[in-house]
Each structure stands twice: as C-alpha cells, then as structure tokens.
C-alpha cells in the first residue's frame, strides 16, 4: 500500500524518459536543445514533427496502452485468472473482426461509427466466450484455452475477409497487427473520453474486486452483489479494449503483461494497482511505437509487431511459472 506512490512516481519518470525519446528520435532526429526550444519557445522548425506527428502518436500510444492494461487488470480480477486478458480471451479479435466486416460492407461509412461497431463486436465475442466456456468459468487455464481458440477463429475470419475483399494497405496492417501509423489528434476523442469515464468506474470497483479475491461467499457476506460486480467490471473491461481497437486495431499482449508487472511491483490490491497498471501499459505501448519507428528509418514497423516481441515470450514465461494447473 505504501509503495504505490513512489512506484507511480518512478514509473511516471520512466514514461517521461520514453516520451522524450519518442519525441526526439525517428527518421528525423531532434537534439535535446532543439526539442526544448520547440516545446518551450515555440520555435517553428520542428513544429509539425513534434505537435502534428509525434505528440499525437505519443498520446494515442500512451492512452491505448493504458486502456488495454486496465482492461486486462479488470478481466484478470473478475475471472481470477492470471492468463486472461482482452486479447487472449478473443475480445480484441472480435472487435477487430466487427470493424473489418463493417468497413467492407459499408465502404463509405463514417469513422464515427467505428468505436460503436468495435464495442458491439467486443461484447458479442465476450458473450460467445462466456456461453461457450460456461462450465469452466472458474478454471483459469481452460477459460484461456477457449479464449485462445475463439481468437484464432476471429483471426482466421479477418484473414479470409482481407484476402477476399482487399482493403487499402494501411487499414489492413492495422487489423492484422495493430499500428499507430497515421493516427493523429482526430483519433484522440475516440479513446480519451472512454478512459475519462471508465477509470473512475474502475476505481469505484477496485475495493469490491479486492473482496472478490476473498471468494464469492465472503464477498457476498460483506455486502457485495457479486453477479452485478462481475458484470459491471467485465463491461468496463470490454469497453476499454474495444475503444483501443477502434483506434489502433488489435494490439496484442499489453493487456496481459502490464497487470502482471504491476502486481509484481505493488502487490494484489486493486486500488494501488490501477495507477501503476495504467502507467505500465502506457510505457509498454510508447516504447513499442518508438522502437517500431527507429529500428530501420524511414521505414516503419506496425507497433503491434513489437508488442508481440515483448509480450509473447512473457506469456510463455508466465505459463512455465503458473502453478495451479
């Protein structure tokens, strides 16, 4: 409990370091003094690169990472499953599939609808998962297995659609791997309000999720309405994940890895976990986008590929460490 504040400050500092790195480096490198000049004194040389290009990407990467991490934390808290996360359970896959199907069926449709389509897809896939896995909801590994199979099916359907009805390449890359290329300030309203509303909701749920950790009976005897709590937390998690998908596509493994790192740092209580988890998600995503840009400039990799590099080995590590088979 006492550790969360210094830990958050430290993580904030790390995030700022990555943010400065993200702003300063890329196909065009900006030296620290020039960076300072542009940021503080409004020198116009790098105005677009900073304010028009890197900063919106920085903010979007940070917010998407934070949203995915919080989503993962809530999912893991509700299903009490360390192997769960919106992407492993197929929620991001379902949301992506819904958006791909939507953009193929209505080619001229406004992007305003995308978050709602993603949300509908996310909820639908959560519904599918809960229905298919209803006998094993309390068995972490089995639930993860059904989720993994479900996301494989969604991925196959996306592959199929993209082969049959080729989209323009940038959209395709977003739906195949998740990417921050071409995202700008206009995409910020697709994610920021969701976080603004749902972080307080998550904070409200935090104490109750702690009670849930004691077991359903104990939680009920302490006055928690377990069913409603689970539902509300899952809906919040799906909304966060779907909002991320509507901006950057299916970014993998951030929602899985960040909550684990957070628990390692500050323990198991949800209230301190929330800020730490948000910051870790943001750091993961910002660094992924940074490395995606500076690896081989001016050619860029999709950020989702980089998060897979970090996340997939970590997931394997988790599996080897997991004891409750």
């Amino acid at each position: 409990m006492t550790r969360w504040l210094p830990m958050s400050v430290t993580l904030m500092a790390i995030l700022l370091v990555f943010a400065a790195w993200h702003l300063g480096f890329g196909a065009v490198n900006i030296s620290p003094p020039e960076l300072w000049q542009t940021l503080v004194h409004g020198q116009p040389d790098y105005e677009f690169i900073l304010y028009g290009y890197r900063m919106p990407r920085l903010f979007i990467a940070a917010l998407v990472g934070a949203a995915l991490a919080l989503s993962g934390l809530l999912v893991q808290g509700v299903v009490r499953n360390p192997l769960a996360s919106p992407d492993i359970l197929g929620v991001t896959g379902g949301a992506s599939l819904a958006v791909v199907g939507f953009s193929i069926a209505w080619t001229g449709a406004s992007v305003v609808w995308v978050p709602f389509v993603a949300l509908a897809g996310g909820f639908a896939s959560l519904g599918c998962l809960l229905w298919l896995a209803r006998p094993v909801l309390n068995q972490p590994a089995s639930l993860a297995l059904v989720g993994v199979a479900l996301s494989a099916l969604f991925a196959a359907a996306i592959d199929f659609l993209l082969t049959m009805y080729p989209l323009e390449i940038n959209s395709s890359l977003i739906w195949l791997t998740g990417s921050v290329w071409g995202r700008n300030w206009s995409h910020l309203p697709l994610i920021a309000p969701w976080l603004a509303v749902l972080i307080p909701v998550a904070t409200f749920l935090a104490y109750r999720l702690d009670l849930l950790d004691l077991g359903d009976e104990a939680a009920t005897s302490l006055g928690t309405r377990v069913g409603w709590l689970r539902l509300l937390a899952l809906l919040t998690a799906v909304a966060l994940a779907s909002a991320s998908v509507s901006v950057c596509g299916a970014i993998s493994f951030v929602g899985l890895v960040a909550p684990h790192m957070a628990r390692f740092l500050v323990g198991y209580r949800h209230l301190p976990l929330i800020p730490v988890c948000l910051l870790l998600g943001a750091i993961l995503m910002v660094s992924a986008d940074l490395f995606a840009r500076i690896l081989m400039p001016p050619i860029e990799l999709p950020a989702g590929i980089v998060t897979a590099f970090i996340g997939a080995p970590y997931f394997v590590f988790l599996i080897t460490r997991y004891k409750h088979w």
């Binding site: 006998p135 196959a156 199929f160 082969t163 390449i169 897979a308 997939a312 997931f315 599996i319 088979w325």
Partner: protein, 343 residues
C-alpha cells in the same frame, strides 16, 4: 507385441481405409478438372491416361498444371495430417498440431527470412534445410516451454505455450517481410499457404521426404499405441519413451518442413484430420497413420478445389479456407476437451 490387436477387430478398419482410396481418387479427379476455363472433363483425364496427346491443350493443362498441383496437395495434405497425428500421439493431446504449436509458423518464418534475402547467408542455404531448422527450432522451444520434457504433461499448458510461440513467429515473419520487401502488401502473400504456383520441382521436393516421414510414422505406430496407455505403463512394457519422442519429433519436423517449403503454412490440416480418422477407424496408430495420410490428402484436394472456385476465374490461396475451417474445429475441440475434463 503384447498389444497386437486381434485380427477380427483390425479387419473392419482396414476395410474402411480401403474405402477411402476411391474417395481419394474422386477428389483427385475433381482437383484435376474442376473450375477451369478450359471446360475440362473427367473424360479428358481418361483419354489422357489412355493416350496422351501433347498437342491437346486440355491434356497439357491437366498433365502439366493440374497434375503437379494435385500431387502437391495430396502429399502436403498427407504430410501435415500425419505430422498432426504423431504430435497428438506423442503429447497425448487432442489439440496438438503443427499450426497450433507454432511448428508451421516457425518453418514459415525461416522460409520468409531465406526467400526475402534479409540475412544473406541464410538465403544461400538449401530451402528445405532452412525450413527444417525453423520447424525444428519452433519444435524445441514448444517442447521445453510447454513442459513436454516432464511427465505428466499438462495438456493446456503446452497448448497455450504453442499458441504464444505461434503468434510470436507470425509477428516476426510480418516484421521481416515489411523490412525486407519495402512493400507492405507482402504480408498477405507470405502467411497464407497456397498451391497456385507449384511445379513438378516442388512435387519432387515434397514426395521423398513425405514418404520417408510416413515410413517413420508407421514405425512409430506401435510405440504410440503403447504410449496411449500412459508414459509409465509404456516404460513398464519396455517401450523407450525417449527414443519415441526423438524419432517422433524428427518425423514431425521433417514432414512440416517439406510441406511448408512447397506450399507455405497451410493451417489446421494437422489438427482436423486425426480426429476425423479416429472417428472413422478407432485408435490403433498403425492404421491411423494410413487413414490420416489418405484423409489429409482428400481434405487438401477438396479445399484447394473449393478455393479455386471462391473467386473463379481468379485463384484464392487454399490457406484461408483451411484456416477458417480449422479454427472453428479448434474451438469445438477445445470446448469438448474441457467438458470431458469436467465430467
């Protein structure tokens, strides 16, 4: 061997395997003739077999385009199916298969690194060696990370490890293609298996290794039957567990490497076919190897024919069909597996 089954019981399944042969023949015939702008008929195949006329355009199309494609489909399908069967036998896990465990995508990654010339010295090596190493590396990783080296094996653990590795290899392949090709459109063509441009050279590459792999799998039939009873029972009965696992892994990697070298990562054939085969002829692995080879060939021939019709007269990669079908099957199996575990 103590577990050799009585003749009466084996006869009937053998009969059923025999019954698959005409089905294979029909599927092969369909693959040779259907969905063509040349209006090919089975009649043309018959006249071709009776008297090949090099000046007959239809004969030429069938003999030089459809035949290598159908042969490649036959052997790639057989290779993937038998690889899946051996994996399921060795791990005693009904969800094991080259695509779920990431062995196929490991081979595909090696293939992409070699073919795009991203690493020069890799590009200089023979293709089959490169894919063999890729599949082997993926196999070794999933073997240890999934906990296959310890007994008892936990079935879900190895699946989750395999899925994560599979995803990692897919991402690495996409990254390699984007960096090397300077053409992001490439990501589509490298990760869906296709038989559209196979030649007799490809057939010559895949056939010997598949036959070798099948022979190895047949030899493994009896040990796998023992293993079905459990690792301990097997060792008590004098079976060499370590030996089986080494040979089995070699067979799997060989079959997958050969298939991926020719057709790319065609997904989920190795997952689906062994289950269909078991439903058909029971659980004797010696017979299952034969049945899987036949059924895998049939499945891929039919899928390739359907893929060709998807956007006729333009071709579609067969991988998108098998992956879609197979992922649904994966979901069904995963659910059934955990329901069984509950009961």
């Amino acid at each position: 061997m103590t577990l050799a089954l009585p003749v009466r019981q084996t006869l009937s399944p053998l009969w059923r395997i025999g019954a698959l042969l005409p089905v294979l023949l029909v599927a092969f015939g369909l693959a040779l003739t259907s969905y063509s702008q040349f209006d090919l008929r089975l009649r043309d195949v018959v006249t071709l077999v009776l008297a090949f006329d090099p000046d007959n355009l239809k004969h030429q199309v069938i003999a030089s385009l459809r035949l290598p494609r159908a042969l490649a489909a036959t052997f790639v399908g057989a290779a993937l199916a038998v690889a899946g069967l051996v994996m399921q036998g060795m791990t005693r896990n009904p969800l094991a298969s080259p695509s779920v465990f990431g062995v196929s995508s490991g081979a595909a990654l090696a293939f992409a690194v070699s073919a795009t010339g991203l690493i020069a010295w890799v590009a200089a090596l023979p293709l089959l060696l490169v894919t063999f190493c890729g599949a082997g590396l993926a196999g070794v990783l999933v073997f240890f990370l999934g906990g296959l080296h310890r007994t008892p094996i936990h079935p879900v653990r190895v699946i989750l490890a395999g899925v994560a590795l599979n995803f990692l290899f897919l991402s690495m392949t996409r990254g390699a293609v984007i960096l090397a090709d300077e053409n992001a459109y490439g990501v589509f063509h490298w990760l869906t298996g296709s038989l559209g441009n196979v030649t007799f050279d490809d057939v010559r590459l895949v056939v010997p290794w598949t036959v070798l792999g099948l022979a190895g799998a047949l030899w493994l039939g009896q040990p796998l039957n023992l293993l079905r009873l459990g690792e301990e029972r097997m060792q008590n009965l004098g079976g060499g567990l370590r030996q089986v696992r080494w040979l089995g892994s070699l067979v799997v990697v060989l079959l997958v490497a050969a298939a991926v070298s020719v057709a790319g990562p065609i997904g989920f054939v190795g997952l689906m076919v062994p289950h269909i085969a078991r439903a058909l002829i029971g659980s004797d692995y010696r017979l299952l190897v034969l049945a899987c080879a036949l059924l895998g060939a049939i499945l891929l021939l039919v899928a390739d024919t359907l893929a060709r019709g998807l956007r006729f007269p333009n071709d579609s990669p067969v991988g998108i069909l098998t992956t879609l079908l197979g992922a649904g099957f994966f979901l069904f199996l995963a659910r059934r597996k955990i329901l069984e575990a509950m009961a």
